[in-house]
């Protein structure tokens, strides 16, 4: 029903809205006093309600960062849970201002969906989860297997490419929500569950006995995940992009949620620029002078956010890997704030 409503909204919006009235997102958000952020329907580590019912996760921290930068209040966010299938329509129709929902950046999405990717907040790849009892050690042993997945993802085409490229047969059962996939996989409808590896770790927590399942080592695709905004509003694109870059730069500069207030008083020219005591970088973005301080105070730096939600100390226990900073052996890199 949700998706039908969304389609209708899109059709009506496309048909009736006056042309070219879309480039006002920042103003709209400020006037509304609330950021509308598209997230998953519950993917632990990225966006899921915690035990107190508050949304939390790596993707959620980006929404909170944006809200903090605009309102100096990270709670001024309305979270809109979306299935993989409905997410783009929700953004196109204007129901959400930003989609922060572990979405893979691809050329076709960038060019044909009327969206722009603001950056990458998680470098991922597609993999498989199987029962340990199957005694499968490699994805190449999955010939003739039945594979469950969530529809509306890049995973469907990757899966077809992988099996075809290796001359293997498979049967795919596609469900519209991740929870339906988990249920079908758990009931034994399929031999393997395919998704981005981070997601497999997260979904494994939902199984009755996570220890009986393993994620195979093969990575069959690259899945750079990041936030998206509507095409045609460059100012808003900049805001979302630089909130993400602020979080990454903060880690690189050693600025944390705890020491941010002290660092803000620093005399270093670089920090003075970033914290807005010198120059007007924040205003250039359409934000305030202390935008950087607001963000880090609300969410911490990227590394803190990662550790809190998906890292070794969290329930997911995923290693930093590619998502480590470029200066520490990973590829996470953000342009400088200057």
């Amino acid at each position: 029903m949700k998706s039908a409503t969304l389609m209708l909204t899109l059709a009506i919006a496309a048909a009736w809205s006056a042309q070219g009235a879309s480039a006002q997102t920042l103003k709209t958000v400020k006037d509304r006093g609330l950021l509308s952020c598209g997230v998953t329907q519950g993917l632990p580590g990225f966006s899921a309600p915690d035990d107190r019912g508050n949304w939390a996760g790596l993707d959620v921290d980006l929404c909170r960062g944006i809200a903090a930068a605009i309102f100096n209040d990270a709670t001024k966010v309305k979270y809109v849970p979306l299935s993989a299938k409905d997410r783009f329509t929700a953004l196109q129709s204007g129901e959400i201002d930003v989609l922060s929902r572990n979405t893979t950046w691809t050329l076709s999405r960038d060019t044909s969906l009327g969206v722009n990717f603001a950056g990458i907040n998680y470098y991922d790849g597609q993999g498989f989860m199987v029962r340990k009892s199957l005694k499968v050690n490699s994805a190449l042993e999955l010939n003739s297997a039945t594979v469950c997945l969530q529809t509306g993802t890049t995973n469907e085409q990757n899966l077809a490419d992988f099996f075809k490229g290796n001359n293997m047969k498979y049967e795919v059962v596609a469900f519209s929500t991740a929870d339906e996939v988990v249920k079908a996989y758990e009931s034994g409808r399929c031999d393997a569950f395919t998704a981005d590896i981070s997601q497999l770790y997260a979904e494994r927590l939902k199984l009755t006995t996570p220890a009986e399942h393993e994620v195979l080592p093969q990575v069959i695709s690259k899945e750079p995940l990041g936030p998206l905004v509507r095409h045609g509003d460059d100012q808003w694109l900049d805001v979302v992009r630089w909130v993400l870059f602020a979080q990454i730069n903060a880690e690189e500069l050693g600025i944390t949620q705890k020491n941010v207030d002290e660092q803000a008083k620093s005399d270093k020219p670089e920090l003075k620029r970033i914290f807005g005591t010198d120059g007007s970088l924040g205003e250039q973005l359409g934000l305030t002078k202390d935008w950087f301080q607001r963000i880090i105070k609300a969410t911490g730096n990227y590394g803190e956010s990662f550790e809190r939600h998906v890292g070794a100390s969290s329930k997911l226990g995923i290693a930093r890997g590619l998502n480590q900073l470029w200066s520490k052996g990973g590829i996470m890199f953000a342009p400088p704030i200057r």
Binding site: M7, L10, A174, E180
Partner: protein, 401 residues
């Protein structure tokens, strides 16, 4: 004087005016023209504006995507399909899947519905109560819930393929679906088919002859033993001369799953069972209402003419009941077809799932895809109700109504 001469002279102007403007005359006609023009203008403005807006937002539009490669797999395809086929092919795969589950659903729902409906009218206390309980339970539970029940509670509880339940070593039930022998025609299929056709032809001729005789002389001819003999004996004879007409390919366990044979995915089974049992509950009530709408005097009149009980039912009650049954029955058929789109919840690759779902999210062309999908459902529904009206017209005519 012939009756034609008394007709009033043809008034073409007046007739045209009445046809076009009804009682309002020319003014009404002008109003209608204005309305049509306004509607056309609004439609044009909407489409034009939508196209311009999509273009400024850089959202792809147009129907060209139908010819690009889909690149994803589908678990059940009744027509040959591979990942390198186009989105148009995906549309056809989804459409055939929708049609087949609706058709199976309609046939099963009609059979179950008639049995339960007549059962509810039965003088047998237990049978009537069981049929009544069926109707009350099934029609009062949400359909989506029933689909999930069959899928997650019943079919998923079956063992995995390696421990599947085998019936006569040829039919295998597992949580991956039902595997059964796949019939493959042999050289003897053609003579066998000819034998069946001849048998049917002779049986039809025999029936026509028997009916003529009944109308001419009032004598009944018992033809069913001869017809049964023909229909069974003739093909058997052909088979004994030319050999078995069909060979069977049995499913075998290979790797993770059964290979070969005919396989029915559990999503289809769950959906077909849920749709047919659900609609059957409504059809049962329609049938009951239809039969009860025929006045008892009709059956009594039939009996006093000397007709047998079965003949009274077949020749008098059912044709009159059908007149009441058909319109709501058509509604049920349409509902069933549309309800099949709930397939998306259990991953059955119907039209909504593979086309308005996967294809939509891969191409992002929501407006075009939703428009195509709506047009297809509308067409299916119109064809169904058209066929039902044809059938209705036939039954009314045969009653002389």
């Amino acid at each position: 004087m012939s009756s034609e001469a008394r007709r009033p002279p043809p008034q073409f102007g007046a007739r045209l005016r009445r046809a076009l403007g009804g009682q309002a005359g020319w003014r009404g006609f002008a109003l209608q023209v204005v309305l049509v023009v306004v509607l056309a203008w609004v439609a044009h403005a909407v489409i034009d504006n939508a196209r311009a807006n999509l273009a400024t937002q850089k959202i792809a539009s147009g129907f060209g995507f139908l010819w690009s490669t889909a690149g994803f797999g589908v678990s059940q395809a009744l027509i040959p399909y591979s990942e390198s086929d186009t989105y148009l092919r995906v549309l056809l795969v989804g459409l055939t899947n929708t049609l087949v589950v609706s058709l199976v659903g309609i046939v099963c729902a009609t059979v179950i519905g008639f049995v339960v409906g007549l059962g509810r009218l039965s003088p047998n206390w237990l049978l009537a109560r069981i049929a009544g309980a069926y109707v009350e339970v099934i029609r009062n539970l949400p359909l989506l819930f029933q689909i999930l029940f069959w899928y997650l509670a019943v079919l998923a509880a079956l063992p995995n393929p390696r421990q599947s339940i085998a019936l006569f070593d040829s039919v295998f039930l597992s949580n991956r679906g039902f595997g059964m022998p796949k019939p493959i025609g042999t050289d003897a299929l053609l003579p066998f088919a000819i034998a069946v056709l001849i048998a049917i032809g002779v049986a039809v001729v025999l029936r026509i002859f028997a009916r003529r005789r009944l109308f001419a002389t009032g004598q009944r001819m018992t033809i069913w033993p001869a017809v049964t003999g023909l229909l069974v004996g003739f093909p058997l004879l052909a088979a004994s001369i030319f050999g078995a007409p069909l060979g069977f390919e049995y499913p075998v366990l290979r790797g993770f799953n059964f290979a070969g044979g005919l396989r029915v995915v559990p999503e289809f089974v769950a959906l077909a069972i849920a749709l047919s049992t659900y609609s059957a509950a409504f059809i049962a009530e329609i049938v009951r209402a239809g039969v009860q709408s025929v006045h008892r005097g009709q059956a009594e009149a039939g009996a006093s003419l000397g007709l047998k009980r079965g003949d009274v039912m077949r020749l008098i009650v059912v044709p009159q009941a059908m007149r009441v049954i058909l319109p709501p029955l058509t509604n049920q058929y349409l509902n069933l077809t549309k309800n099949s789109s709930l397939a998306v919840a259990i991953g059955y690759p119907d039209l909504v799932s593979v086309f308005a779902g996967t294809t939509l999210s891969q191409t992002g062309q929501a407006i075009e895809i939703i428009a195509i999908t709506m047009a297809i459902y509308l067409t299916i529904s119109l064809i169904t109700s058209g066929l039902m009206s044809l059938y209705g017209a036939r039954t009314s005519r045969s009653m002389g109504a």
